[in-house]
């Protein structure tokens, strides 16, 4: 029986529109058949969004589906189903939750599992993955899923960027990385053309890419408004407002959403309205996906006067101008340059600070820009891609920057079995005390 919690309050009215967005994405996968569109089981932050949008392929976001199940505290039945066929509970729970759902649907001859959140998600016509640098499930989840959806073709793109090495100038390697990414994207287009039976409209792709660039710029401009003191929006909302950028990139709806958010934040700033009143501590959510079943923890922070004006998580974009992208008429090459430069544009700063790393350099930049007093990390046990190396980031941050208060929370993204609200709140309380002592010392 699902233990559905009451909806979490959000600080901005615009963020309150997000559930509609998520429902819309799920229902689009269900309506696709009637509209004669193909559905692709796809991954966020995989560089394939614009190709799908330009070809009218409807993305079925597995992470979103599993996140919704987690938020509704209704993932357990799917996790158990996957476990029944020997998928370990230590594997990515985004993946095992979704695979469990698909297993049940296949066993039911294609009928939607009863109680699937928000009507469930459509059966894919294809599965797109990306063997990129940051996440093994992005190519293993598609392969594992095909074990149950045997007729559904899988295509794995591979988009890399130069790895961080303080002794190597990554700029010297950029060109062959971009060439490789571009070729891989071209292979992706060929696959999509084969499955959809339609040719890519390259002018349309170019327009979609241009819209994505505009959305990236607007997103950063909008989030920069959170530098205001008190901050008008914190990470609790950002875990919602990331949806259009992350799941709807390349659509007008996503762009328009940030126009609205931008306007609301400006109004709040003009009125001096902050997330916490009074705002006592400003924190950075420095790494880690949230526990989707425990987003209320952000409000617990807020209740103590602590706000998160900035987060690394789901801020998957940068001002295009800052990336200094070489000009090209090939939209795929543009996506490739944007990809490579996005992942590497903190390298030069890291190279200048002995002992630093790009991830830490990014955190330092945000701490300075958003005037943060401390950092919070979340380590999810089932996800190595975003959560391995967090101890190191915290350690390097202290060594190369300063000894600011740091909290590393532990939990999971989907699996609620590891979560204890009382323990979590106790840890937050202790961290708040540390912050208070730190701020006291800073004033002296």
């Amino acid at each position: 029986m699902a233990e559905e919690k009451k909806g979490r309050a959000v600080a901005t009215q615009t963020a309150a529109r997000i559930p509609k967005f998520v429902r819309g994405n799920l229902s689009a996968t269900l309506k696709a058949k009637e509209e004669e569109k193909k559905v692709a089981k796809a991954f966020i932050a995989d560089g394939q969004d614009e190709i799908m949008r330009a070809m009218d392929i409807v993305p079925a976001w597995g992470e979103s589906f599993s996140g919704v199940c987690a938020a509704k505290r209704d993932a357990e039945k799917y996790l158990q189903k996957a476990e029944s066929d020997n998928f370990s509970r230590s594997l990515c729970t985004y993946a095992t939750c979704h695979i469990g759902f698909e297993m049940i649907r296949e066993e039911q001859g294609g009928a939607m599992p009863e109680g699937a959140p928000w009507g469930g998600m459509g059966r894919p016509d294809m599965i797109l993955g990306n063997g990129q640098l940051l996440c093994d499930p992005r190519f293993k989840w598609p392969q594992a899923l095909q074990h149950y959806l045997k007729d559904v073709p899988v295509f794995i793109t591979n988009m890399y960027y130069p790895p961080w090495d303080p002794n190597t100038d990554h700029h010297e390697q950029e060109k062959f990385y971009v060439k490789y990414c571009t070729e891989e994207l071209r292979e992706t287009v060929k696959f999509c053309e084969k499955v959809t039976g339609k040719k890519m409209d390259w002018d349309r792709l170019a327009a979609v890419v241009e819209l994505s660039d505009k959305t990236w710029d607007l997103f950063v401009d909008t989030y920069d408004l959170r530098k205001a003191i008190p901050t008008p929006m914190d990470t609790g909302d950002a875990m919602n407002t990331m949806v259009p950028l992350t799941f709807n990139l390349g659509t007008q709806e996503a762009y328009d959403f940030y126009v609205e958010l931008n306007s609301e934040l400006k109004q709040k700033i003009a009125g001096g309205i902050g997330v916490a009143d009074p705002e006592k501590y400003r924190l950075i959510w420095a790494a880690g996906l949230p526990s989707w079943f425990a987003l209320n923890d952000f409000q617990y922070f807020n209740s103590k006067g602590a706000v998160f004006p900035v987060e690394v998580t789901y801020r998957g974009c940068e001002k295009i101008e800052r990336l200094d992208l070489p000009k090209t008429n090939d939209p795929l090459e543009h996506i490739a340059w944007r990809w490579v430069r996005y992942w590497t544009h903190w390298y030069d700063a890291a190279r200048k600070r002995h002992g630093s790393t790009p991830k830490v350099e990014r955190i330092i930049e945000y701490i300075e820009d958003y005037k943060c007093d401390g950092a919070v990390f979340h380590s999810a046990f089932s996800c190595r891609s975003w959560h391995a190396g967090i101890i190191n980031q915290a350690d390097v941050l202290r060594k190369v920057y300063k000894d600011i208060p740091i909290l590393i929370m532990e939990g999971d993204i989907v699996d609620i079995s590891s979560y204890n609200e009382a323990d979590t709140h106790n840890r937050i309380d202790a961290f708040i005390e540390t912050l208070e002592a730190y701020k006291g010392k800073q004033k002296k």
Binding site: N86, F87, S88, S90, L91, C92, A95, G129, G131, L133, L134, C135, D136, P137, F139, K140, W141, P142, Q143, A144, Q146, H147, K150, D151, V154, I156, T157, N158, Y160, P162, P163, W164, D165, N167, T168, Q173, F176, Y177, Y180, E183, E184, E187, G355, T357, K359, S379, A380, F381, S382, C383, R384, H387, A388, G389, I390, I391, N392, Q393, D395, V396
Partner: protein, 386 residues
């Protein structure tokens, strides 16, 4: 193995197994550089051509992680954590540098951890792709060139194509010799036990290829002289997994009354079957072997027209080995927190079972602290297939 003759080669293997890195330490004293590496994806041909001593890092299964946890999360592959713990405690202090190939998240996402805390004079992360199409082969050649460039800079010497071609021949010969030793496990009973074989495989990871070939040649000659008495109706087991580099599991199998006759491990069957083609550009052959011939779950294989074709491409070699070595049962031993292997389990298990071979799937730690439960599961499995 009762009734079987002893071997000087096996004594040497036993020494290198028990004193891991002992030969590298000797060679370092003679002025050779030692480069450590992780995983089956490190192109050892290039290290050999560079004239360094390549040593594959291993864990120490009977040692608790006492220092590594301060730097590396417990959600990371227990083997990687154990090997890192050993490194941070100085077990590989003879290394002048390391190459860390991009195999999986547990390696990729801890690159900063390894490099910053070991602080070795040479460090290289080799960005091996996960897919195998033509652009990936070209990309692999590019990253191999970058790797060669950094090694040349560190060593102050040129690594020529001729040297790489020679190293390819040496490693191919080494692989043929090792497969020749594996062949001696095909008889019933096998002429060399799974425990002995494990020691040979581990020893071979820590010495230069020519010495490894000489060692294997010697052992093979000695083992061939053995007379294997008939030994009842012991079941013949194959083990599948990544880096199992200790005798605890083979002992658990063989002390329970079975023979470990074959493996598909990343220090064994996975690396000794595929060879490097001797191509005009030696990097072409190396790129093709590491991307297209090595059967490891971090390389995506899925270009078939049907799912069944994909399964054959991914696991067909397992069925061949099961047939060649007359395997009665397979043990799939996967480390906890391992996404690449973990997501393979249902497909691999059902594929092997579809050929009539029973499979025991074990997910466990890299530690002898959990060995009792592993033994119990193995005993139950052997009883079931008896």
């Amino acid at each position: 193995m009762t009734g079987l003759a002893n071997s000087k080669g096996l004594e040497t293997a036993e020494k290198y197994y028990a004193q891991y890195g002992a030969r590298a330490i000797e060679l370092k004293k003679e002025g050779r550089k030692v480069i450590g590496y992780m995983s089956a994806l490190a192109p050892v041909e290039i290290l050999t051509a560079a004239g360094v001593v390549p040593v594959r890092l291993k864990g120490f299964v009977d040692e608790a992680i006492t220092k590594g946890d301060a730097y590396m999360e417990s959600i990371i592959c227990p083997f990687v954590r154990n090997a890192f713990d050993a490194a941070i405690k100085g077990r590989f202090s003879f290394m002048d540098g390391m190459v860390l190939p991009h195999q999986c998240d547990s390696i990729d996402r801890t690159n900063d951890v390894w490099s910053s805390y070991l602080n070795l004079p040479y460090w290289h992360f080799l960005n091996v792709p996960h897919v195998t199409d033509d652009p990936s082969i070209e990309f692999m050649k590019e990253i191999l060139r970058v790797f060669i460039g950094t090694l040349e800079k560190f060593l102050g010497t040129k690594i020529t194509d001729a040297a790489i071609a020679q190293a390819i021949k040496a490693h191919n010969e080494n692989r043929r010799l090792m497969r020749g030793l594996y062949d001696l496990r095909k008889s019933n009973p096998p002429l060399i036990s799974g425990v002995e074989m494990m020691k040979v495989l581990v020893a071979a990871m820590s010495i230069p290829v020519d010495e490894s070939s000489a060692l294997i040649r010697g052992i093979t000659e000695d083992v061939k002289k053995r007379t294997a008495p008939a030994d009842g109706n012991r079941k013949r087991i194959m083990i599948i997994g990544d880096q199992i580099d200790h005798t605890a599991i083979p002992e658990s199998i063989e002390n329970t009354g079975a023979w470990l006759v074959a493996d598909d491990l990343s220090i064994g069957g996975k690396i000794y079957w595929p060879e490097v083609d001797e191509t005009a550009d030696p990097l072409q052959g190396i790129a093709e072997r590491y991307l297209r011939k090595l059967k490891i779950p971090t390389t995506f294989v899925g270009d078939g027209n049907t799912y069944e074709e994909n399964l054959e491409a991914r696991f067909g070699h397992l069925k061949q080995r099961i047939a060649e070595f007359k395997v009665d049962g397979a043990i799939l031993f996967i480390y906890k927190y391992c996404d690449p292997y973990g997501f393979e389990v249902p497909a691999m298990k059902s594929y092997i079972e579809s050929g009539g071979t029973p499979v025991l799937y074990l997910e466990d730690e890299y530690s002898t602290s959990t060995l009792a439960r592993v033994k119990t599961r193995i005993e139950a499995f052997l009883e079931m297939i008896a």
